[in-house]
């Protein structure tokens, strides 16, 4: 059974500020027993970043003192939460090791959402981008082996396979083909709304991370690979955010953001294996209920609407779960490898006319070489084969299997 967060008080907002010491948490070990503890941290960091940035945008669209002050208070707390969460990441891990964590999030989060998504249109949107993030994991894992002599499976613990997905060079679409039809806020299943808001925040943080850390590398292949994949992450943010209904007001959006955070902290709390981190999820869950209550108060006061009419009677009883999704990913890969987009629609690449802008954009973007291909070529040259972690057998697509003699 889920619960109705509006029936709980949580921790009042004015009791949520913390000291520097409280925020400067001890980091996780570089190789935690459960790699999904790391993915939960990465996801919730992205959720908090979205909360803060949404609040900033909202604040720039109003000078109502009561709203601005309320936003300022909750935003400062969201920022404190972001620090307490993100500072769990171990400093001894390199940017590239953290990146592999980001891609494990992208694969297993997206796959789980797709498996549990009731709306076929939204499920398709998730499946589509899943294959691209799955391929990013493979490309970064090869970079990791090449420049750090690392084995990505030691980070993912074999819970997420590493093998080619829809090849990254094929992700580079014309921007107008990145936009999907959006759900209607009145008819969308509350679970679907939670799924979309979650994946938008997660992909946005991935975009932010790559666009900022890419130039930290010295190796030209690393710089160029981050550049290329950072652009794809922008595409994914455009893809997913276009699913959101622009009809929702600022205050309704605030309410939905807080409800999403409540659901996610509750989910993380349900499954966390690290007791110390579990405590943090519980604390933040109670913080978020406090934020939700404040958003609900403002919705009633300024829009005259009852939050109970916007939110479902209870949040989903199934927690969003990080778990292995190997069979599901393989099935999507086998079925949708060749899918592309044409404006709002998904189409097999063979159905696109030769003069479609997809091919023109491909020629322009990939015309001077493709870093995501170069990284594989260079790693094969260095190690005699590409890096994979195919725990369930060869890649389901024959053309994507390791050439004989390389394994």
């Amino acid at each position: 059974m889920g619960f109705n967060p509006l029936e709980h008080e949580g921790i009042p907002v004015d009791q949520q500020f913390r000291s520097w010491k409280e925020l400067n948490v001890d980091p996780l070990p570089a190789r935690p027993d459960d790699p999904y503890t790391m993915t939960r941290v990465i996801l919730m960091n992205g959720i908090e970043v979205e909360a803060a940035m949404f609040s900033h945008q909202f604040a720039r669209h109003t000078d109502n003192p009561e709203i601005k002050r309320s936003l300022a208070v909750s935003r400062r707390i969201e920022q404190q939460q972001q620090k307490a969460v993100n500072w769990l990441l171990p400093g001894e891990n390199s940017v590239l090791e953290t990146t592999i964590g980001y891609e494990q999030v992208a694969v297993d989060l997206t796959a789980w959402l797709a498996r549990n998504e009731p709306d076929p249109h939204l499920k398709q949107a998730l499946d589509f981008a899943l294959l691209e993030d799955f391929d990013h994991l493979y490309r970064y894992s090869n970079l990791y082996e090449m420049i750090q002599s690392g084995r990505a499976a030691e980070l993912t613990k074999g819970l997420t396979e590493i093998t080619p997905g829809r090849p990254t060079f094929a992700h580079h679409r014309h921007p107008v083909d990145e936009l999907r039809r959006h759900y209607a806020t009145q008819t969308v299943n509350p679970l679907s709304r939670l799924h979309v808001m979650t994946i938008v925040a997660a992909e946005q943080q991935t975009m932010n991370y790559y666009m900022n850390t890419g130039p930290d590398f010295i190796e030209p292949i690393a710089r160029s690979l981050y550049l290329e994949i950072a652009q794809v992450e922008e595409q994914h943010v455009s893809h997913y955010e276009s699913l959101l209904d622009p009809l929702d007001s600022w205050l309704a959006n605030l309410l939905y953001h807080e409800a999403t955070e409540v659901y996610l902290y509750w989910s993380m709390f349900q499954q966390e294996s690290d007791p110390r981190v579990k405590q943090l999820w519980e604390l933040h869950l109670n913080f978020e209920i406090g934020h939700l209550q404040e958003a609900a108060r403002m919705l009633r006061r300024f829009e005259g609407r009852e939050p109970e009419e916007l939110l479902p009677p209870e949040l989903p009883g199934i927690p969003l779960t990080f778990e292995t999704n190997k069979d599901y990913v393989r099935s999507v890969l086998a079925a949708q490898l060749d899918l592309r987009t044409d404006e709002e629609d998904y189409v097999p690449v063979d159905d696109l006319p030769a003069d479609h802008r997809f091919f023109a954009f491909q020629d322009k973007a990939n015309g001077d070489g493709v870093p995501s291909e170069d990284v594989i070529t260079q790693n094969v040259e260095a190690n005699g084969r590409d890096y994979r972690d195919e725990t369930e057998g060869p890649n389901p697509i024959v053309d994507l299997r390791q050439p004989a003699g390389q394994a």
Binding site: Q186, L247, P312
Partner: protein, 236 residues
């Protein structure tokens, strides 16, 4: 009584070029064609128009609840509450009318979505920039939103009367006429009150130098707004 359309309240809608509706909640023009059957009117269009009018009434109720809670004038507060209560009965009347003509009150038409955006814009206009104006002007902004809402509301019910007149004798016409008879007189009263009150508020300020004096304390302004209509009869 729900005054919002949402999944858990059984809402349905119609897919549009950029709007996707989950198949289990999607309706088509073919399905809507059964609305106002036997009248010769375009059933799908009537369904859309009625949904639009219902959305406007629902938004009107939210508007009145919002302004009643924010005004500093007790007379306006009381009147906003009264108008909100009457608007809520209009929501009920429309829901019953929609059901009576073979429609679904949970259906949200594309026009209704557009109206929700329009009405939300008017409501947001009454508070999102409240820091840009003094307390008296905030009162005027709230009243402006009410005037806009009532103008559309009145036009909706006049149109409903015309639609009823265009129907041949039968249950659909009867239902429409009954609803219009119940609501239109109140809508005429609402829009007249809103326009008159807006005019009166502006005249009062125009005739009183003290009302908008720069530097007046919050307490002074609230006191002035609170007693704004004490010295003269208030319309409505």
């Amino acid at each position: 009584m729900p005054t919002n359309a949402a999944y858990h309240l059984g809402a349905t809608s119609k897919p549009m070029p950029m709007v996707y509706v989950d198949p289990e909640r999607a309706v088509t023009d073919e399905q809507l064609a059964a609305v106002a059957e036997g009248t010769g009117l375009n059933g799908a269009f009537i369904a859309d128009v009625l949904s639009d009018a219902l959305m406007h009434e629902r938004c009107g109720f939210h508007l009145y609840r919002s302004v009643a809670g924010r005004t500093n004038n007790p007379i306006l507060k009381r009147r906003y509450q009264e108008l909100g209560d009457e608007t809520l009965t209009h929501v009920t009347v429309l829901e019953e009318l929609i059901a009576a003509v073979g429609g679904d009150p949970g259906y949200v038409s594309p026009a209704a979505r557009g109206t929700e955006k329009l009405d939300m814009g008017a409501l947001e206009g009454s508070f999102m920039l409240s820091g840009s104006v003094d307390l008296m002007t905030q009162e005027l902004m709230m009243l402006n939103a009410v005037v806009l809402a009532e103008a559309i509301d009145h036009a909706n019910w006049e149109t409903m009367a015309a639609l009823g007149a265009a129907c041949p004798d039968g249950p659909v016409k009867d239902a429409m006429v009954r609803a219009v008879e119940q609501v239109l007189p109140q809508e005429e009263e609402h829009v007249t009150w809103a326009r008159d009150m807006r005019q009166r508020m502006i005249l009062l300020q125009a005739q009183s130098k003290a009302m908008t004096r720069v530097g007046a304390t919050m307490e002074t302004m609230v006191a002035r707004i609170s007693s704004m209509f004490d010295d003269a009869p208030v319309p409505g």
